[in-house]
């Protein structure tokens, strides 16, 4: 085995090691812990960069370890996994910086950062998994690693949220396992193949395969928060801001959506999925999720609650894009994995800043916050406009491809879903911007504290500014090589065998 073949394993192992060391570190060794965290994420970024270069020039990276007879643990870097790996490792880096600032001086930091790294390891494993069983393994590890993060605060509310989370995800995991076993019993292989590996099967199996599909999508749909399986997500926003940020942008919700993309493209194959008649129902479910969750978001006063419902809605763009089953819409869906991640993490970072600096948790308390914290609010504004899909921000690119792709695939109704969603997004984001920028503060902030010599501590301020910059750059220079859009087009050209 050459070094190349070890890179995928290394990428997963590094955060795992970091987790173990951090668990062993004493609580007060802040510096060591921070250096370790940031150093590890830097190394990962370098490795990811290396692989990105290799994959784009057609090289293969695969680590294969025997697991069960006939089943290997496979970590493989293909174009789709690279999209997710790059997103995860980049945002891991920023979230770590943010979390160091956010948790400064609070108890149980070793536990927090340990599970945090573990969570990242699991996400990277999900991204790199080369077959369904590896995927499942990391997917379950992700569930377990996230739980302590959600209940981190230890309050009754946090515990209740944590329990709901476990209920949902464990049951989801069980259903996913059931689907996987059923699939294995039919095919005897679980290896992901571009274009799918089921179309060659005898047509007598088709009804069983539909059952498998339904099981897999329900199992994954729990994490992807498809309505009506989304109940855990708004509850789990009791978690500390960096956790919510990572949860909504990359780790849990995205793992579900990514899994659905994987199953459709590399297990069933898009053409086969269409011939089984599975894509239209999925598109309809995704559309219902989009509209329903946006409507719910409209009536939330809690800032994080509104953002949580917004996530439920936006993640279904990804599923919708894939389910439309045309190449252009698929590009829109896949690129939204990245665009939604970067945009939503910005919003959650900012929400965390408001909570940490001024004690603001509700939108009704945000009057005039733009004057007190202009930089944070600027980042929040960019994030919000990106979510609505205002050009030239990242969200617009996704929406544009989804809209044109839907028409190209002959599904004009999707345009109305997108229009309705944009309208609702505007209806729940613009009022926030209005009160923050144009209203006068009502009086003292709920719980103001002075952090650093700027509007808040730099550790909290820089990450959202960087991600906001990315929201702009990913949209403004979408056609450059190595942009998320170009990369998604590269992925789709492979999946659609163009």
């Amino acid at each position: 085995m050459t070094f190349d073949n070890w890179i995928p394993l290394l990428i997963v192992i590094i955060p795992l090691f970091v987790a173990v060391i951090i668990f062993a570190l004493a609580e007060d060794k802040t510096k060591t812990r921070s250096t370790l965290n940031i150093g590890a994420s830097l190394i990962s970024l370098v490795l990811v960069g290396l692989m990105l270069w290799g994959v784009s020039s057609g090289q293969n990276y695969e680590t294969r370890l025997s697991f069960l007879p006939g089943l290997d643990l496979v970590l493989r870097a293909d174009s789709l996994s690279m999209l997710f790996v790059t997103l995860s490792s980049a945002l891991w880096m920023l979230t770590t910086v943010y979390a160091i600032g956010y948790l400064e001086g609070s108890p149980y930091r070793s536990r927090f950062f340990g599970f945090f790294s573990l969570c990242v390891a699991a996400t990277l494993g999900v991204a790199l998994a080369g077959n369904l069983i590896t995927f499942l393994l990391f997917y379950e590890l992700l569930t377990l690693a996230t739980y302590p993060l959600i209940v981190h605060r230890g309050t009754t509310k946090a515990r209740r949220a944590g329990r709901t989370y476990l209920m949902y995800t464990l049951i989801g995991g069980a259903i996913l396992l059931l689907g996987t076993i059923l699939l294995y019993s039919i095919t005897g292989t679980l290896e992901f193949v571009a274009g799918g590996f089921l179309s060659a099967l005898d047509s007598s199996n088709h009804s069983l395969l539909i059952l498998v599909f339904v099981l897999l999508v329900i199992g994954l749909g729990v994490k992807a928060a498809i309505v009506p399986l989304h109940g855990w997500l708004p509850k789990s926003m009791v978690a500390p801001a960096p956790v919510s940020a990572l949860l909504h942008a990359v780790a849990v919700v995205k793992a579900g959506a990514f899994g659905i993309v994987r199953v459709i493209y590399d297990v069933f194959g898009i053409e086969f999925s269409v011939s089984l008649g599975l894509m239209l129902p999925l598109a309809i479910i995704a559309s219902i999720t989009i509209i329903y969750a946006s409507t719910r978001a409209l009536f939330q006063d809690g800032l994080k609650a509104r953002l949580a419902y917004s996530t439920v809605s936006q993640v279904s763009y990804i599923i919708l894009g894939v389910a439309i089953a045309g190449p252009i819409a698929a590009v829109g869906g896949v690129v939204h994995l990245v665009h939604q991640g970067v945009t939503k993490i910005t919003l959650f970072f900012c929400a965390g800043n408001f909570a940490e600096t001024l004690g603001i948790h509700n939108i009704s308390e945000m009057d005039g916050v733009g004057r007190r914290m202009p930089w944070t609010m600027a980042a929040f504004t960019i994030g919000s406009l990106g979510m609505i899909g205002i050009p030239p921000l990242a969200g617009f690119i996704s929406k544009w491809y989804l809209g044109i792709g839907a028409l190209e695939a002959g599904q004009a109704w999707v345009l109305w879903v997108l229009a309705g969603s944009s309208l609702l997004n505007a209806a729940y984001f613009l009022p926030i911007l209005y009160v923050a920028w144009f209203k006068k503060p009502k009086g003292d902030w709920p719980a103001e504290q002075k952090l650093g010599k700027y509007e808040t501590s730099l550790l909290l301020l820089v990450p959202p500014l960087i991600t906001a910059l990315f929201v702009i750059l990913l949209g403004l220079f979408a056609s450059l090589s190595f942009s998320a859009l170009t990369w998604s087009e590269f992925i789709i050209s492979k999946e659609f065998l163009l």
Binding site: L73, Y147, M167
Partner: protein, 598 residues
Amino acid sequence: MNFDFNTLFLLAVPSFPLLLALTLMLKPLSKTVILLAPWMALPSLLVAMLMPIDICIEVPWLLLGSFVGLNETARVFLFFTSILWLMGGIYALGYFKTKDKKSTFFIWFLLAMGGNLGLIIAQDMVLFYTFFTLMSLASYGLVVHSKSIEALRAGRIYIILVIIGEIMLFAAFSMMIASAGSIEFTVIRATFSNIEVNHSMIALLLLGFGIKAGIVGVHVWLPLAHPVAPTPASAILSGAMIATGLLGLMQVLPLGEVELPFWGTFMMLIGMISTFYGVFVGLSQNNAKTVLAYSSISSMGIMITAIGLGLVSPELWAVMLMAILVYVLQHGFAKSALFLAVGIFAKPILSQVTRFVFILVLIISVLSLIGAPFTSSFVAKKMFDAQLSLSTSPWAEWVQVLLPLSSLAASLLLARFLYLIWSKNIKEYEKTKVEQDALVPKSMWISWLFLVVMAVLSPMIVWFLGIKTSPMVDLMSEKALISFSTTLGAVILLSCIAWYITKRYTIPERLKIPAGDLLIAVEKYILPSIIKSFAASVQTLQNTSQSLGSYINSAIDSGSGLASFYIGELDNKLKQWTVAIVLLLTIMFVFTLLAWRL
């Protein structure tokens, strides 16, 4: 990458204002930056004057691969738009009293400027849409600048219509691109001839751009928002930004190439309705700026009618385009000059000579707007009239009858404006007679005079820009002069009668139409019921989902009491160090084992 200086120059057009906007955000009170702000329109003015036309350059690295360029239409638009921004900016330097207000104003001003200038040079849909959105959103900051209750209300209605318009355009653009397979305007216009007409697409386009251009029905934001903005911003909103709706329609509709009789006729009719509707509602207004806003609706109506004629009879488009360009240019200068005059006449002018000069200038600019001889709006209307008689459309005759009537109506409206602005000035003068001189700041009257001169000179500008108009000799014929003098006579007569009536009788309150006309009905009667039913349905939805949620929760709770006990235990365990480490070590062990077995 193919790079030449033309790309650089074209991209400089939106970049200058946008970069200065960023600088101003970072250094909000910097005096130099504020002083520089108006001049950011200068590069685009130079581009409009000096750059060769009919170029279209690909900029592959921007957005989804963009196209920028300059053609005859874009050049005229760029020319008058940049002058309006330049003059509006100079005017604003004197208009605001505090530095703080000036600074916030100029941030929005520069952003909107970047959008407005940028959309003119954009030759593809994505770039156009980007700049169009930027302009529309940034104008919100201009509309609500005073933060008064009316301004905030106008701003709310404005932003709602902007978002709705954006979404309609998004849908329409998606449909166009899906059928054309390209985002370039030239390709899109060309595909119309190959495919069946998509009616919903054209309807969406008309609504989306109609909101900006103030087509009757979706015009409701305009008479509210244009007047409440600070005067320099009102001038630009009504002179330049309103015209971008027209530009958008001209960029995407297959004018002169494909015949769309239904939509052409529709636009001719809705345009004519807008023209007269604007006048009738405008006449009952008591605010000079609101009167001007309604006058803009009226003028845009004429141009919508002209575009409609181009859709009905493509063979006439070449001349119609020239007429539209001439008219839009003239309207931009003259209307903005009138808006700027409102700010000047709001100040007490003490010297008798100045007063006399100012009034004279005001009357000249009014005359140039209503189409007096030797002005370009006169030329444009005559060209329009001549084309109407060539058209085979049965509606063209009607429009031909209505066109002179519309001039008469527009003149009446401006007479109303003159009356309002004059009486206000007298009041202002009497109020402050005893106080010391409140001079009109130099930058304000200079920019105003400059625009009036531009409006008067516009026939020459038209010639300079190379727009082919009918020879002046034809237009100065006896018949034309007679028709104009009759119009003028009628206006004076009617104004006198109106003045007499209003002096003698007071108009009953219920006959006065509030600014925003249709909107008031919607706000008062229709909206509350919609909101009520929406809230009710959402409530039901919420109740159902909540009861469903609690049902699921209780089912899970009761069904898995045992499990939840263990999970509770697990919960506690996971918080202990030992457990966590053991768990981790196990995982590590498994991994090393696997790695070793390899």
